[in-house]
């Protein structure tokens, strides 16, 4: 297979404009003749469904949540980037573009990232018009803060609840379309398969999570906005229900999966406290604006942190990266923390953390100022740990957080299956090998509000007058039979171990061998262990209850089954990529100082994998990346 990214010709600053001029349009009166399925109603999906509905398309939106407002986007804390340059501190579209490409360790597609930076400002305008209560200064204008990997203040925020407020904005815009009748919303409906016909995406099969009813839905195009797959690790900062099944099912139907090994481990999460921990809680990156990270100079220092004198502390990020200090990108900060803990310098009861200390900031700005900025995060921390972060430093440790990999998409955000689009965290597009903080909200909303609604007509326009196959077409009945077979199969195993047990085992394998540091032997071991565990799952998982009611174990079992296949592909991709780039750190490839060492001659490309069956090797197709505007360089934050 050849991958054509469909990058428009011409100077980078003009590509998006000229592309919008070149795409085929559907005239306003004809839009209602087209139906579009949007799976997922997080930031990406809700913004897309709302906008497509406003344009006049007939939209069917699906979420497995009981309300769109519960999507995982709601949990995003710190903020959203935009090149507004409201602070006159040297920001520009080009700088946001440059920072994002560099932050991604030169593994993203320049044209997409440039467009992202171009539309970033409009997102802030749009959200403000919807009533998103962004933080303001006393003069009434919008406030900004800084995030990692940038030396300007371009992050807009709503206390520590930016994702919540942006999602409510998008959800409410979609609710208006539901009211108008242009969006038909299906909650508690989980997509369990993609339906293709003649090589095109024509619909989906869903299961109603309340009644267990399996149904088919057909449309002219299908958009997947189903989020990321960090929960492959079991313990992550993602909501419990986040999963890979929608894009994995699409992958099995022909959509190539790009860079699955690019996973982001976030440096500031609350460390695991016991073996029953169900998830890890993020402490927003924004805290690194005012918090200072340190460990004791001596290993196994048992004293409480406040008794350790200044000269007995190692503020290792400030020491190693004076230019960016505590605000180095996430991959760099996470690896540095791992290094400290591996060297025996970890703190806390399990020796599994480093300190994030606000004493200096509280001294300088006062407790009230810190409370106004981060109050809800401090409260959450106190709730979870039982410690008061105003009085003692927070304990933090890296945790799986975000996945840069996802379905391969072209400049139009279409996957390799015609008519199938992927937006938001579900696609691979803009973050290369490492995402900068506050850029996921930006990308999800760019895709949903501004990109997809402008590109989808290019695919739809030639289909005017063509009806998608009806739901009694064999393509649908076959997909329904497959789904029913899978559901019944899981219920029929009647083994001895719970779904969560298997998921924890899988997570541990991935964390140990495909986490913050990877090497050949470990990855090979992981692949064989995952295969063995998958076989055990198929013969020994225990899912009680039936398929015709609400059955949470059954839902989870289906998702974990897909995580096994994905987990293996993550390891294969990590094994293939014999370089270190961003979040992907191969121990064999590092500089003398332990920084990631890329191999641009061999790997300045996207690795897109094709499905060949559960027991056959996947096939690899590469998209060569061209860097014409950003010079490839060893990243330096010193």
């Amino acid at each position: 297979m050849q991958l054509d990214a469909k990058i428009p010709a011409g100077p980078i600053a003009d590509k998006w404009d000229s592309h919008r001029f070149d795409v085929k349009l559907v005239n306003p009166a004809n839009k209602r003749k087209f139906s579009v399925i949007v799976v997922g109603t997080g930031l990406a999906g809700a913004s897309a469904a709302a906008t497509l509905g406003e344009l006049g398309y007939r939209v069917k939106a699906f979420t497995f949540h009981d309300s769109p407002r519960r999507a995982h986007s709601i949990a995003a804390q710190g903020g959203i980037n935009a090149a507004k340059n409201y602070h006159n501190d040297g920001d520009s579209v080009f700088r946001l573009f440059y920072d994002t490409v560099k932050g991604g360790d030169y593994r993203s597609r320049e044209a997409n990232v440039y467009r992202l930076a171009q539309v970033s400002g409009e997102i802030i305008d749009q959200a403000t018009a919807q009533g998103v209560p962004f933080a303001r200064e006393y003069g009434g204008l919008l406030d900004n803060r800084s995030f990692g990997g940038a030396q300007v203040s371009r992050t807009f925020y709503a206390r520590g609840q930016t994702g919540q407020q942006l999602l409510l904005g998008a959800y409410q815009a979609m609710a208006r379309q539901v009211h108008e009748g242009s969006v038909d919303l299906h909650t508690k409906s989980e997509m369990l398969d993609l339906v293709t016909e003649g090589g095109r995406a024509v619909g989906i099969v869903t299961r109603d999570l309340g009644t267990g009813e399996i149904s088919s839905h057909s449309a002219h195009a299908v958009v997947l906005a189903t989020g990321g797959y960090s929960n492959a690790f079991f313990l992550s900062t993602n909501a419990k229900a986040c999963n890979v099944s929608a894009i994995w099912r699409a992958h099995r139907k022909g959509a190539l999966f790009a860079n699955p090994c690019y996973t982001q481990i976030h440096p500031t999460c609350i460390p695991q406290s016991d073996d029953f921990q169900s998830k890890l809680t993020l402490m927003s990156e924004s805290l690194r604006n005012d918090g200072r990270i340190w460990v004791p100079v001596e290993a196994d220092d048992e004293r409480p942190p406040n008794e350790i004198a200044e000269d007995e502390r190692d503020y290792y990020l400030e020491r190693r990266y004076p230019a960016f200090g505590n605000l180095v990108p996430r991959d760099v900060a996470s690896r540095a923390a791992k290094g400290m803990i591996d060297a025996g310098l970890g703190i806390g009861p399990r020796r599994n953390g480093v300190y994030l200390d606000f004493a200096t900031a509280i001294g300088r700005l006062g407790r009230d100022a810190i409370e106004a900025k981060y109050g809800n995060l401090f409260e959450m921390y106190a709730n979870i740990t039982g410690e008061d972060p105003y009085a003692v430093p927070m304990r933090i440790y890296p945790a799986p957080h975000y996945t840069m990999g996802g379905l391969w998409v072209d400049y139009n955000l279409m996957t390799t299956v015609p008519g199938l689009y992927a937006i938001g965290e579900a696609n691979f597009s803009d973050h290369g090998a490492n995402r900068l903080g506050a850029s996921a909200l930006m990308q999800g909303l760019a895709d949903g509000y501004f990109v997809l609604p402008n590109t989808i007509s290019d695919y739809l326009a030639p289909l005017l007058g063509v009806q998608p196959p009806p739901t009694d077409h064999p393509a649908f009945t076959q997909a329904v039979a497959d789904v029913t077979g899978r559901v019944d199969g899981l219920l029929a195993v009647k083994g001895t171990r719970t779904v969560d047990w298997f998921h924890r085992q899988l997570g541990k394998i991935l964390w140990d061998y495909c986490g913050m540091a990877r090497n050949r032997a470990g990855l090979e071991k992981a692949i064989s262990e995952i295969r063995a565990l998958r076989e055990e799952f198929q013969t020994d998982v225990r899912v009680l209850g039936g398929g015709e009611t609400l059955n949470l174990s059954l839902e989870r079992a289906g998702r974990v089954a897909d995580f096994f296949e994905l987990g293996e592909l993550m390891c294969r991709d990590a094994l293939y990529r014999e370089e270190s780039a961003g979040g992907h750190f191969r121990e064999e490839h590092q500089t003398d100082e332990g920084e990631a060492l890329r191999d641009d001659d061999r790997f300045a490309h996207v690795a897109a994998w094709g499905w060949n069956g559960p027991d056959r090797d996947p096939s690899l197709t590469v998209e060569q990346l061209q860097f014409e505007h950003v010079k490839l360089a060893q990243r330096s934050y010193k």
Partner: protein, 252 residues
């Protein structure tokens, strides 16, 4: 610590339901309440009993998915805390804990501790938005918003839609939920053009599902986000104005 749980079990919407007693053993105080239930569920499955169905997702207190009546209190004993953020250090060895679903006419039970809260979405669909089609927005700094107004709007907007206010209300009213959304939008300059129309539509929709507010104030006490009942006063005032101007329009 070891605990005894009395848990509401109900096979489906039509089932009558009953309490079952389970023991929760070797629970650590660092666990969250839901992790304690996870442990109980793992054991139930091992014993061949169907696990207790309960809703949760982010487990960070922001998605609003979880919500249990714990010893008769919505989200349990800790003030301004969602169930998922309640930790077992609030309990002592030997405690007996009663766990029920939200009980409200507008929230039918789907199974065990899971209820259907979709009427909240209907209220938002009726008018809980500012009409601003994508692409039509002016520059974000064109309309300065006084910081106090924007902060107050934010406090209302912090509602997580969990339904604790309804479950805690003796009348099963949804005034606090509706008032929070109205205050968020009605306090901002962007929300002014549709202010009264929005208020009327949302309140009327609310009344078609939920009971009436008689100022018990239980909603505020149960709210995990500490949303103030003062917003209900704003709702009442705006609703009065909306009805008044509506009557005037009809009379013209």
């Amino acid at each position: 610590m070891d605990l005894t749980l009395k848990v509401w079990r109900q096979d489906g919407p039509q089932d009558a339901g009953r309490f079952e007693t389970y023991s929760a053993e070797s629970i650590s105080e660092d666990m969250s309440f839901l992790e304690m239930l996870d442990v109980v569920n793992e054991r139930l499955v091992e014993e061949g009993t169907e696990p207790i169905a309960f809703d949760s997702d982010c487990r960070e207190g922001i998605c609003g998915t979880c919500g249990l009546m714990i010893d008769g209190q919505a989200h349990g004993p800790q003030r301004a805390t969602a169930t998922c953020q309640l930790h077992m250090r609030s309990y002592r060895d030997g405690d007996e804990i009663t766990i029920e679903p939200w009980r409200a006419a507008a929230f039918p039970i789907m199974k065990d501790l899971v209820v259907d809260r979709s009427p909240f979405d209907r209220i938002v669909e009726a008018g809980g938005f500012i009409t601003a089609p994508t692409g039509s927005a002016p520059d974000a700094n064109l309309i300065p918003v006084p910081k106090e107004d924007s902060d107050l709007a934010f406090e209302a907007a912090a509602c997580i839609g969990c339904g604790a206010c309804v479950a805690a209300c003796p009348n099963g009213a949804a005034q606090l939920f509706t008032a929070a959304k109205l205050a968020h939008l009605n306090l901002l300059p962007q929300g002014q053009p549709e202010r009264y129309q929005r208020t009327e539509a949302m309140v009327d929709e609310m009344e078609s599902y939920f009971g009436s507010c008689t100022n018990h104030g239980e909603c505020q006490a149960a709210c995990p986000k500490d949303i103030s009942i003062d917003f209900i006063a704003l709702l009442n005032r705006d609703y009065g104005k909306a009805k008044f101007s509506g009557r005037r329009k009809r009379a013209d």
